[in-house]
């Protein structure tokens, strides 16, 4: 299942990855997650390139996207996804530390589906991640061509 996740988490900070996975684990969603360490890797996954060349060609049910990323940053990834007819239907949730209004405005301009500021408080963080995971990966009916619920 390692290359067949319903959630693509794009996050460069391993600690954040671990905390996010821990939070998702409370909803038994951790196994559904594929982690991309930077924007380029995320795009490789979506376009089945590089180390993801062999994966099956379905889109993730949701993409959790950090904004501040090495190589290709989050907003560029978002722009790429929303300007590609084959990818634009994937729900994208920006998950970031930034309260900055301009990031928020830029994200919504590019067509983001949700914008979540990571709370400092762990309880709130876990709740936020759980709700996100539950809503987008379980409750929400993904667009056609995505990985189906089990």
């Amino acid at each position: 299942m390692s290359t067949l996740g319903r959630i693509l988490l794009v996050e460069d900070d391993p600690k954040d990855v671990e905390l996010t996975l821990t939070a998702l684990d409370e909803y038994n969603l951790a196994n559904e997650v594929v982690v991309a360490g930077d924007g380029e890797e995320a795009l490789d996954y979506l376009y089945l390139r590089g180390k993801f060349a062999e994966r099956s060609g379905e889109n993730p049910a949701v993409l959790l996207l950090d904004l501040k990323l090495p190589k290709v940053d989050g907003l560029e990834v978002l722009q790429q996804i929303k300007s590609d007819a084959r990818l634009k239907l994937i729900p994208v949730v920006v998950l970031t530390s930034s309260h900055e209004e301009k990031d928020m405005v830029a994200s919504y301009r590019l067509g983001v589906n949700a914008y979540v500021v990571k709370p400092v408080d762990f309880h709130e963080f876990v709740n936020a991640i759980k709700e996100l995971g539950a809503f987008w990966a379980v409750v929400n009916e993904p667009p056609p061509g995505s990985i189906k619920k089990r």
């Binding site: 900070d13 905390l19 970031t96 530390s97 900055e100 209004e101 400092v120 408080d121 762990f122």
Partner: protein, 498 residues
């Protein structure tokens, strides 16, 4: 030559005719006397002389009388038959010659007198004109403008006192010199173009650089007017100059100050950009490790719940609390810095409605409290709606917070005075108040007058209030006493502020 010469022969009519009779009589007397002593033919020159004298001094009428008298006398006394008005045939040519000669003398004299009178009249008119011109020229001396006239060869023909004061040359020194050589004029464009413009439109103006007699340079605003003669040929140029050296200097100063200001502004903009980047980086990079600390501590708390003793559990709890506190501080600081950076969007704001909105937001946290609200009328004003709302929320929330110890809290919101360009809004409570000697610390960032275990808070609220009010061109101040409540005022100006 303003004084008129005294007239020797301004005689009345009677005097003139009397002169005619007298002159002819005297001539007759002398002629008869000379005849008695056998001087022959003296009567002709004598009578002609008398007629000439009268013609000269007595005018046309007197001359005619003298001529008639002379002719009669000549006929009566000096032509045969003597002492009779008849004239013998032999003396008739002699008489005719005398009469015509006398007539000729009279005629010449009167014509000559007429010409002289015309000349005198012309001279008088000329004198009047000269007097007027002189007066006008002296008027030109009164003006502060420097004025001179130069002919078409650039030679100075008139030079007023203003010109002397400005350039240092006296009229005597300047007249007859070539103006542009004397003043070492520097033209902004080729002199041929300026001349062409002057001949075409009759005038030219512009800034010129000239030299004073001591060699110093002077910048003048120069206006040229072309004078033409009655046939339209260019005659002279009237040049008026005003010293603009000081103005020019000030203009240059202003220009350089503006340039300096522009430089400073762009420096400030750069600094502002840096600050923005700094705040952005705080927002991202400072919160992340904090989140990790808090997250992993909590995980640690969970996994060690069964092994840790109470003391250790308390330590873990305190780490979590500290991390949370720091998160709040960072968030507040970011919000504060965002207010400083954000642009204000000013519109007409209904302050009463804004108070109601702020109240409903604050009242969410007042369950179980007994608060008596007194809200007075407030005018509509001009400002950034969301920022002013934040001011009211902060002040009202403070009032709620610091009346927490009161069994019955009383919070009053109202207008503390209105002027055409300014209003004062206040929020008054009956809470714990503060010592006026710390009033200056109230509005500082992270300044707090109460320990956090009594009244929670980061100390950013009033700093935010102050920053917003300053951006609206107003000010904030407070009055209070320990345990006797506090009143916070803020003024909003209509015209000032960003």
């Amino acid at each position: 030559m303003t004084q008129r010469r005294p007239q020797l022969h301004e005689l009345s009519a009677i005097q003139r005719y009397a002169l005619a009779v007298l002159a002819v009589s005297v001539a007759l007397g002398i002629a008869l006397l000379l005849d008695r002593f056998s001087f022959r033919a003296a009567e002709v020159p004598l009578l002609l002389f008398a007629v000439a004298i009268v013609s000269w001094f007595g005018g046309r009428g007197a001359a005619t009388l003298a001529l008639l008298l002379a002719c009669v006398i000549f006929d009566y006394f000096f032509t045969a038959p003597y002492y009779h008005l008849n004239i013998s045939r032999t003396d008739l040519p002699y008489y005719a010659i005398f009469a015509s000669f006398a007539t000729l003398v009279t005629w010449f004299s009167t014509v000559r007198r007429g010409v002289e009178a015309d000349l005198r009249l012309a001279r008088d008119r000329l004198e009047v004109e000269v007097a007027e011109r002189t007066q006008q020229a002296s008027l030109l001396d009164l003006t502060h403008d420097s004025i001179f006239v130069r002919d078409m060869d650039d030679v100075i023909t008139y030079w007023n006192r203003g010109a002397q004061e400005l350039f240092g040359w006296t009229a005597e020194e300047a007249m007859g010199k070539r103006a542009h050589e004397l003043l070492k004029t520097v033209f902004p464009s080729p002199i041929e173009e300026i001349r062409a413009e002057l001949l075409r439109s009759g005038r030219w103006d512009g800034e010129l650089e000239k030299a004073r007699s001591d060699g110093t340079r002077v910048v003048v605003a120069s206006r040229w007017s072309l004078r033409r003669d009655e046939r339209g040929r260019p005659l002279a140029v009237l040049e008026t100059n005003n010293d603009v050296t000081e103005r020019k200097k000030r203009e240059e100063q202003i220009t350089s100050l503006n340039a300096e200001l522009g430089k400073r502004t762009s420096e400030l903009e750069a600094i502002n950009k840096e600050l923005e980047a700094f705040a952005y980086s705080i927002s991202h990079d400072l919160r992340a490790p904090l989140r990790h600390m808090s997250g992993f501590t909590e995980l640690l708390q969970k996994s060690t719940a069964s092994v840790l003793n109470d003391k250790s559990k308390r330590y873990v709890g305190m780490i979590l609390e500290a991390a949370k506190k720091m998160g709040n501080l960072i968030d507040d600081l970011l919000a504060f810095s965002r207010i400083g950076r954000a642009e204000t969007h000013k519109t007409a704001v209904n302050l009463e409605q804004l108070v109601q909105e702020a109240l409903s937001e604050v009242k969410q946290d007042t369950s179980g409290r007994n608060i008596l609200w007194e809200v007075g009328g407030l005018p509509a004003w001009y400002g950034d709606r969301s920022m002013l709302r934040l001011v009211l929320v902060n002040l009202i929330a403070n009032a709620v917070k610091f009346t927490r110890t009161r069994p019955e809290a009383r919070i009053e919101i109202g207008c503390g005075g209105q002027e055409p360009n300014q209003i004062v809004v206040f929020v008054r409570d009956n809470g714990v108040g503060f010592d006026m000697k710390y009033v200056n610390k109230l509005f500082g960032v992270f300044q707090r007058l109460h320990p956090p275990d009594v009244f929670e808070g980061t100390g950013i609220g009033l700093a935010t209030v102050q920053r917003i009010v300053h951006r609206h061109g107003g000010r904030v101040w407070a009055e209070g006493a320990v345990d006797r409540g506090a009143t916070f005022y803020f003024s909003l100006s209509k015209s000032q502020g960003v």
